[in-house]
Symmetry: D2
Amino acid sequence: MNETIGFVGLGSMGVAMALRLAERGFPLRVWNRSPEKAEPLVRQGQARAERPEETAATGGIVVSMLADDRAVTKLFGANSPLLSRLGTGGLHISMSTIHPETSRRLAAEHRAAGVGYVTAPVFGRPDSAAAGTLWIPVSGSESARGRARPLLEALSRGIFEFGDDPGSANTVKLCGNFLIAAMMEAQGEVAAWAERSGLGAEAVMGMLSQTLFPCPVFQNYGKRIVAREFQPAGFRLTLGLKDVELAVAAARAVSVPLPLGSLVRDRALAAVNSGHANWDWSSLTLESRVGAGLPQKS
Amino acid sequence: MNETIGFVGLGSMGVAMALRLAERGFPLRVWNRSPEKAEPLVRQGQARAERPEETAATGGIVVSMLADDRAVTKLFGANSPLLSRLGTGGLHISMSTIHPETSRRLAAEHRAAGVGYVTAPVFGRPDSAAAGTLWIPVSGSESARGRARPLLEALSRGIFEFGDDPGSANTVKLCGNFLIAAMMEAQGEVAAWAERSGLGAEAVMGMLSQTLFPCPVFQNYGKRIVAREFQPAGFRLTLGLKDVELAVAAARAVSVPLPLGSLVRDRALAAVNSGHANWDWSSLTLESRVGAGLPQKS
Amino acid sequence: MNETIGFVGLGSMGVAMALRLAERGFPLRVWNRSPEKAEPLVRQGQARAERPEETAATGGIVVSMLADDRAVTKLFGANSPLLSRLGTGGLHISMSTIHPETSRRLAAEHRAAGVGYVTAPVFGRPDSAAAGTLWIPVSGSESARGRARPLLEALSRGIFEFGDDPGSANTVKLCGNFLIAAMMEAQGEVAAWAERSGLGAEAVMGMLSQTLFPCPVFQNYGKRIVAREFQPAGFRLTLGLKDVELAVAAARAVSVPLPLGSLVRDRALAAVNSGHANWDWSSLTLESRVGAGLPQKS
Amino acid sequence: MNETIGFVGLGSMGVAMALRLAERGFPLRVWNRSPEKAEPLVRQGQARAERPEETAATGGIVVSMLADDRAVTKLFGANSPLLSRLGTGGLHISMSTIHPETSRRLAAEHRAAGVGYVTAPVFGRPDSAAAGTLWIPVSGSESARGRARPLLEALSRGIFEFGDDPGSANTVKLCGNFLIAAMMEAQGEVAAWAERSGLGAEAVMGMLSQTLFPCPVFQNYGKRIVAREFQPAGFRLTLGLKDVELAVAAARAVSVPLPLGSLVRDRALAAVNSGHANWDWSSLTLESRVGAGLPQKS
């Protein structure tokens, strides 16, 4: 039988990932700041921890899927109960979208405590997590990556290795989210233009998503943008803004300006100011409508 | 046997399209400003016209695939010999990438001369033209579209109808090229960021083009950008700059700002200033390298 | 006594300039598309022309202060009645804000008709015109500049010579208006930031306009921006947008990208879309409020 | 006789300010990380401290003029020897350019230690500091501002009060530096445009700085930009980049996007990558030359 895995962070992605792991035979001990999020797992017989450190067994594995750098640092920083409990031989699989430097700092602190650290953020929505069809870039020490692999395989249809630097997989994740945000900005500008040209956004985006851009991410966001259906959110705008800001900051940390990142970041911030913080992040495209003098609502 | 079709404009796209038409049984009478470009067609037995108007028969069809608005207007404007020769019942299939307003103006002038005008710009490279696998948005009067269809079918694997407004298909074409340019800018920023992060652009772009963006346009440009292979050009930077400028101008004509269009346009202009006018338009991504302090050459 | 001067274009600037010239002893024959604008001049005894060409005497001087390139070209293009009437030895003092290329083309056409062409756009508002305290950059052939000078001196407190190229003074004018627009954009961003910081835009802009930027253009626009008093317009937003677009186009004509020009142009277009076409062009700063989630109105 | 004032941070601004204070009768005890910077003061009879805390007397005043938020936080954070030594009744006059939030946090920590905190960043170059003609925005508790005033008066020709919030004066300082950076970007674009237009940057900037923008900051930076004289630096590019980044971050902290700030920040970062980190920050305008295809060097 598999060893029990700790899992902290049960947002919409986290809970879907945990359920998938459970389904694939990994017994879990789970924790979330607001404990009711653990219900779907508890109902299936998984153990609930009262405190984050109780998810860990000495030398065991804990997976984290948390909201931001601060949350990960708070739970897994130097001298944290979680690190102490994991202890020598423990492993932390860090799957949140955070700054590469945060991973590097945490990895050093983990190493000092004898704990391995592997970075494995994910591409995909909750339904992909549930189906085990995420895409996962992974980086960290070879032994840590090796130990994490069976668990990552249960979650994904593709694992991409990016070497020993624990920051690398974070960079890849931020690159991907930046590309999606840039694509949505372009789609939003096209949609406003098509509409004011009297062509209709649907016809134009329809053709382009069948011909030049026949990829699900273009097609699915394109449909939301054309239909202006931003609720319920697949990925909330505030989280999207956070990721674009992380992208700009992480690129800047290696001295790279991202002018398109700056543009999208300013758009996303304006969209939050327009009151869409909890809408899907594709609602950043409403700002193109504002600039074009189109009504935000249909 | 099919009627003879006039074909003006034998650049790399035009010649490939004309060869495809000939192969599919359309006899051609061709013209190009620099006549040697007609050689591949003449060698296959197609007729060469000495002057543009000699491609036309009264009531016949002429296809144009020219460099820009000025060239189309010069050959097909009011009182042009070509229009006179086509005369009542003639049809002009206008396949160049031009401003929607140019098409609307030309269509009115054609109508006054009894000539039909159908707009049918194409998506695809010369190899797609040769294989008859272009994508074609089409607009103009219903009868004109109907008459053009067999010819367009010979060239394409998909025809998308955009109604009576002769400008509409131009708008769709510009929307598509703008999306490609925006995507390349995003890819260029990611490539510079990945390289300065020590990850290598190839690994990052490789993963993302297999997972989030498994579409040929992303993959093919991604490879060029990563390898920095911009010669020979598939589509020259000066033409790409022209198209992005047309996009910004056409959107502005319907009062739509395109901030991402402005950014890409400034990048493409800077890239021309860097000496890459005749390289592939994906060389606009070299400007991201400049800003990031990376050498332009490997 | 001075020779009679023709004057075409009696918008708010034109009429103020014409009144100033009349006051300084230049008899005028004036024309405007909507003739009622000539009233203030007619009441003072100046002659009214029924048609533009009637403002001209053979070998005489005509001043133009028109809305845009199209208007100047229409009145003064090759074969125009105005050019014919001016004839050999005539002089056109072209004071509108237009594209440098338009001036170069017109100058060539004037030269062919024996008419001199001098470019002399103005910096200042109607009250400066009335007081004869405009700033004027001037370019064109030396003889034309020499003949225009007494008239320009009556209007200005400073004339700046930019050589023989008739486009040069247009470029200088566009550079100046671009700088003002850029400054306003910066002020608008600062005002929104100061307000959301709880500091109030007035206090911050007040200090900065007394210390770092003690120049009237900063101070006066700063006051409008802080008070959000955009009516009546000193310079209408549509004209401001036109000038920023001319700046971007003129710089592009010499291969220079103006990223800040692109930004301001997109802002101004968005502001027109927000319904402020006839407000003062400083209302482009309201777009910074929109992006910051501040109400446009107080 | 005046009480002895502590002064930490003797960069080019700090040393000029300290010398001015000494000249105006304030005995000093000074400290700098690299001690040789204190020489000009020691030669004039001022005391040198071996450690930062030795500049402080219980209940006394310490002025800081440090490089960045980290340096100020390190010296004056909670439990720092400097805070302990200042003790109840002490006052810290914080004159560095830092984030408003840093000031708010520090002020709270000072309050807990019984120490007053007043924010008083400065506008001006070292020669203005030496002449006592800086401009100073000031904020913090009323009593702290009152006690700091005689000292600030010795340094400035104008003090502007911004209330109790210790972050406010930092915001004002960042607003000012952002405006200067925005103005330089606009000047750089104009200079490139004027040069490629064949007009020469000097003639155009010369006219505009006498007419529209007759303020020293425009004139002085304009001269540097036109002459491309960026060494020795008046204010180093790395510091300028830091300030623009602080501006973008501080505006974002109150949810305000600064698109022009983003643009200038990306320019400044590119300029650092071009190798100009230690040149004057006006060298960010060289990036406009790069984009325009002009040589960076004359």
